[in-house]
């Protein structure tokens, strides 16, 4: 067997270093990567100093020219998003989305725990460039260590004059307020995050009109950016947009953090080149995951967090490039790949995701609140061998109330299945409802024979029997 070359870093559980240019994970090699001392000793806050010598407009332009795609899931260019604030409406706020909870996603927590100053510097650059008067750094509730690391970093940064009033002696002044959630996946959706930050139940708002850049926190223009997105800013400002776009492809420049979990030899978080790295590089490369565990066959993988329609070995050569992944029926989402080998019980695996989204429905939209629950219950019945043929059709029927029309899925040439491109239509405000359907739909479309086997021989039930047996 070929020797693997990527290096796991003991004090950074999960992270494995490879030869990729390291933009956001550069300091992970140091055991004290989270401290101000280390940050300052490794060019920390230099980008802030450089930004303060430029006009806010110049800083904004640099970020726009870098085509920094949002790393939270939607992949929208940050510099363009910043430009959506309506002119003349003040104050504007920055809300940092550190509510990472998409199944399979594990990068923002590392960035907060291992390099909190990089995130803080990114927040400051964003506030300076867009004229954001106050920053709220919202960390997921269940991340006690990230909260501690960021709290300490903020305290140190205030003390050192990097945050607060007249930063580094300039006119630029902004407070960063540390805030954390209390356990609700849906709060990762930006309008729900804002509701939560206003002290409410974290239910998404309808867009339009509630696009945060125009009507956000307290009804004011608000930029909501993901942790990894902001963590890229110090590097971009220090090295310039041209250096950033020199990495990766024109439409997907830079690097991105990707977590690979499940049945690979070396599950881990990898910083990879955006746009060019393929799923095969990532899953089979010797400096990355090194192949499927026990040299088993790959059966399927979820390419972009639990919400994403599934891929099979037929899609392994696709790169991390939205314009190529979308037409093939899925999305890159939050940079999370969950790998299933040949031993996987596909319907059971789909259930572990569908029950997640059913559980996390906030209850605002009926198709999600009811549909998610029904999908879970019907699927559970099938998985436990109590389902019938009718249940398989019912899963699709229920799903179509959430996502009418053709739902995206991958191609399986050997089974004569052609791809249906991303995205889907939806009857809900946010993506939680469709996400409950995505795993069911993918599993049932790509691996129907496994569902057929589970319901084979089970006789049709009356509606009363079905209603009782959930």
């Amino acid at each position: 067997m070929t020797e693997m070359t990527g290096t796991p870093i003991a004090h950074a559980p999960g992270f494995i270093a490879n030869e990729t240019p390291r933009i956001v994970s550069a300091r992970f090699d140091y055991e004290d990567s989270h401290t101000l001392e280390r940050y300052e000793a490794t060019d920390g806050y230099h980008a802030l100093k450089k930004a303060l010598q430029q006009t806010p407009e110049e800083v904004h332009n640099e970020v726009r020219d870098a085509t920094l795609l949002g790393r939270g899931g939607a992949g929208f260019p940050a510099g363009v998003k910043w430009g959506f604030c309506p002119p003349g409406v003040w104050p504007r706020y920055l809300v940092v989305n550190g509510d990472e909870s998409e199944p399979g996603t594990y990068k923002d927590r590392l960035l907060m725990e291992l390099d909190p100053h990089q995130l803080i510097e990114g927040c400051l650059i964003a506030c300076y460039a867009v004229g954001l008067s106050q920053c709220f750094l919202y960390i997921r509730g269940e991340m006690a260590v990230a909260q501690e690391r960021v709290a300490q970093a903020l305290n140190d940064a205030y003390e050192a004059g990097y945050v607060g009033k007249n930063i580094l002696g300039s006119e630029f002044s902004v407070d960063i307020v540390l805030h954390w959630g209390a356990g609700a996946y849906v709060v990762g959706e930006e309008t729900a995050l804002i509701e939560s930050l206003e002290g409410n139940r974290g239910m998404p708002r309808l867009k339009p009109p509630y696009f945060p850049a125009s009507i956000g926190l307290y009804g004011q223009p608000t930029i909501v950016n993901n942790v990894e997105t902001l963590a890229n800013l110090p590097w971009i400002i220090q090295h310039g947009a041209a250096a950033f776009t020199a990495i990766g492809t024109e439409s997907s420049p830079g690097t991105r953090m990707v977590a690979v979990s499940g049945h690979v030899k070396r599950p881990g978080v990898y910083e990879i080149v955006n746009g060019t790295t393929t799923f095969r590089d990532l899953l089979y490369g010797n400096d990355m995951c090194g192949g499927i565990r026990d040299d088993n066959q790959l059966k399927a993988f979820v390419p972009g967090g639990g919400s994403a329609p599934w891929f099979t070995p037929d899609q392994l050569d696709l790169p991390f490039e939205a314009s190529q992944v979308g037409p093939q029926g899925s999305m890159l989402g939050s940079g999370a790949i969950m790998v299933m080998d040949e031993t996987t019980d596909i319907p059971a695996a789909a259930l572990t995701l569908t029950k997640f989204y059913a559980h996390e429905s906030c209850g605002k939209c009926v198709p999600c609140r009811e549909g998610g629950t029904w999908l879970e219950q019907i699927l559970r019945r099938v998985v436990t061998g109590r389902g019938t043929q009718r249940d398989l059709d019912l899963l699709i029927e229920v799903g179509e109330t959430i996502c009418p029309g053709d739902f995206p899925h991958a191609a399986v040439p050997s089974k004569g299945i052609e791809a249906v491109p991303f995205p889907y239509r939806m009857t809900t405000i946010c993506f939680v409802g469709p996400s409950a359907f995505a795993p069911v739909h993918s599993a049932l479309t790509l691996f129907r024979e496994e569902f057929e086997a589970k319901v084979a021989g089970n006789e049709a039930k009356t509606m009363i029997e079905v209603a009782v047996d959930v």
């Binding site: 399979g104 509730g141 501690e148 209390a182 995701l353």
Partner: protein, 202 residues
């Protein structure tokens, strides 16, 4: 009605002062209440309502939305075993079964000695280190059934450095007065920030 200790009340007021609107402090204050008592009592919600200027029913509305807020006493250690896909693929089901028999409780229940509450949890952002669990929201990675037993033994004999349930970050944010800009409420600030150019546009 007074729920918060004097120290926590001072802290609550400091926290409220950071936000443009007091209601934004609701979740931080619920955490503070849970830190003080281990769970969120009715008295706590009443006082939080008074502090942020709303009714206790509104506080309950927010409180009940979020999984981490407990409306009844729970164990000193809340053990959350992740049951979502990556962990399920790597043996979370077996780990949960083992935990149930080791602790003698079903998920959602507390052991009779009040030490442990077992819960099935959703994705904990440690997917590469599956199966994982959290004790009072602090991770344990790649947990085998043997390691689970060791962990429980350690916790039971207080040999493990995990703060009691309710305590999250043991480090508090402190904004020094001389460095603080202060909250920026929309009612009071209508001009562009001073560092922007004169026309107020970036």
């Amino acid at each position: 009605m007074t729920f918060f200790t004097d120290d926590n009340l001072a802290l609550a007021e400091e926290i409220i002062g950071r936000y443009p609107k007091p209601r934004s402090a609701m979740i931080p204050l619920l955490h503070l209440a849970q830190e003080q008592e281990g769970w969120v009592t009715d008295e706590a919600m009443t006082q939080i309502g008074e502090l942020v200027g709303t009714t206790s029913a509104e506080v309950l509305g927010t409180c009940s939305f979020y999984e981490m807020f407990k409306r009844h006493p729970v164990g000193k250690y809340v053990i959350n075993i992740c049951t979502t896909m990556s962990c399920a693929l790597m043996g979370a089901g077996e780990l949960m079964e083992h935990a149930e028999s080791r602790l003698g409780v079903r998920p959602g229940s507390t052991t009779s000695d009040g030490l442990f509450t077992l819960e099935g949890a959703e994705c904990q952002a440690a997917c590469t280190e599956a199966p994982c669990l959290q004790v009072n929201y602090r991770h344990q990675y790649r947990v085998t059934t043997d390691q689970f037993d060791e962990l429980v033994d350690e916790l039971a004999s207080s040999g493990h450095a995990v703060p009691d349930h309710g305590v999250l970050s043991q480090i508090r944010q402190h904004i020094p007065k001389d460095r603080s800009v202060g909250a920026v409420p929309p009612e009071e600030v209508t001009a562009a920030p001073v560092w922007l150019s004169e026309d107020g546009e970036s």
